[in-house]
Symmetry: C2
Subunit: 168 residues, 2 copies
DNA sequence: TTTTATTTTCAATAATTTTTGAAAGTTTAA
DNA sequence: TTAAACTTTCAAAAATTATTGAAAATAAAA
C-alpha cells in the first residue's frame, strides 16, 4: 500500500471510530490528519487535505483545542496559526478521560443525587425498583469515578506493566 | 420529587448519556425504562410509556437484546413477549465492553495492521511520521485490549476493592 | 491611520439519522 | 384449516446534526 492510500484509510477509519463514540466525524478526521503529519498544519492545509470548508475546519479545530487534543503553534515570521496533535496515545486517552469525566460524569452525579431523593410509598414495587436501581447506578458511578481519577494520574508504564501484571 | 418525575428525569438523562456515547437516544431510554421497572414490560407498555411508535419500539428492543442488555421473558399463559433489563451495573458495563471490543476494536486492529504495511521512502518525514504514529496507536490498542479482556473476566468486588486499593 | 491577511460567526442548506405507521409476516388457538 | 394476536419490515416523513460560504470581526503590516 502507498502512503497516500494508507493515510486516507487511516483518516476514514479514525472518523468512523469517532462517530461510533459520539464525536463528529470531521473532528475525528482533523485529529487523524494531524496525528500523521510530521509538521503542524494551517487551517488552509486542513481544508485542502480533507476538502472541507473554512467554517467547518475552524469549528472542528477549535473543538479539538477545547478537548486538549490539539495545540496551536505559532511560527515566527508567520501570521497564520498552525496546529499539531498530541501523538502520545496514553496522553490522548487520559485527556479524553479527563474531559469526559468533567463534562459527563459530574452532571450525571448531580441528576442521580437529585432523583435519589424521590419520595414515595416504600411498599410500592415501582418505588422499590426505582430506588434500588438508582442506588446501584450511583454506587457503580462512584467507583468508576474513583478508578478514573486514578487512571488520569497514572503513568503509562505503571498502568500497563505493573497493573496488567497484577491483574494476572 | 415524586416518583413519576424522578423516573422521567432518569429516562431523559440516560437518553442523553447514550447519545453522547454514540447510542441512539430512544434505545437508551428503553433501557432506562426497563432498568427502573419492577416487572418485565411488553412492547405495548414501552410504546405507551415512552410515547413512541410500534416500529421504533420494536427496533430498539431488538437492538438492546443484540447488545445483551435486555432479556426476553416468556410468561406462561401469555402470548406476547415481555422484556427486562439487566440491573447489575457491573454486568451491564462488562457486557458493553465485550460487545464494543468485538464490534469496534477487532475491525480497527485489522485496519491498523493493513496500513502499517505501508511502503515508502524511510527518509520521507511524512512516511516516518505515519509509521511512528500508527505504531504508537497499535501498541496502545494492544495494551488496551489486554486490559479490557481482563476486565471483562473480572469480578466486581475484586476489581473495585482489590484493584482500587492496589492503585492507591 | 488604512490596508491586507486571517479567523470567527451564523443563517441557510445539505446530509444523515431517527421515527412513523401501515402492510406483510409469523405464531398460536380455535 | 381460519382467525386473531402479535411481531417485523421498510419506504416515506420528520427531526436532528453537520456543512457551507459569505459577511463580520480581529489582528498585523504598511
Amino acid at each position: 500500500m502507498q502512503l497516500d492510500q494508507a493515510k486516507e484509510k487511516f483518516i476514514q477509519t479514525w472518523g468512523t471510530l469517532g462517530s461510533n463514540w459520539g464525536i463528529n466525524r470531521t473532528m475525528a478526521q482533523v485529529h487523524a490528519l494531524l496525528l500523521v503529519s510530521p509538521e503542524p498544519l494551517s487551517a488552509e492545509d486542513i481544508m485542502e487535505q480533507l476538502t472541507i470548508s473554512r467554517g467547518n475546519a475552524n469549528m472542528n479545530i477549535r473543538a479539538l483545542i477545547d478537548w486538549g487534543l490539539v495545540y496551536k503553534e505559532l511560527k515566527s515570521g508567520e501570521r497564520r496559526e498552525f496546529f499539531s496533535a498530541e501523538k502520545d496515545m496514553w496522553k490522548v486517552f487520559k485527556q479524553i478521560a479527563k474531559e469526559r469525566r468533567k463534562r459527563e460524569l459530574e452532571p450525571i452525579f448531580k441528576v442521580l443525587n437529585d432523583i435519589s431523593q424521590v419520595e414515595g410509598d416504600p411498599k410500592d414495587p415501582n418505588y422499590q425498583a426505582f430506588v434500588q436501581s438508582i442506588g446501584g447506578i450511583q454506587k457503580f458511578a462512584g467507583q468508576a469515578d474513583d478508578f478514573l481519577s486514578k487512571v488520569i494520574k497514572a503513568d503509562e508504564h505503571w498502568f500497563f506493566n505493573t497493573l496488567l501484571r497484577f491483574m494476572k
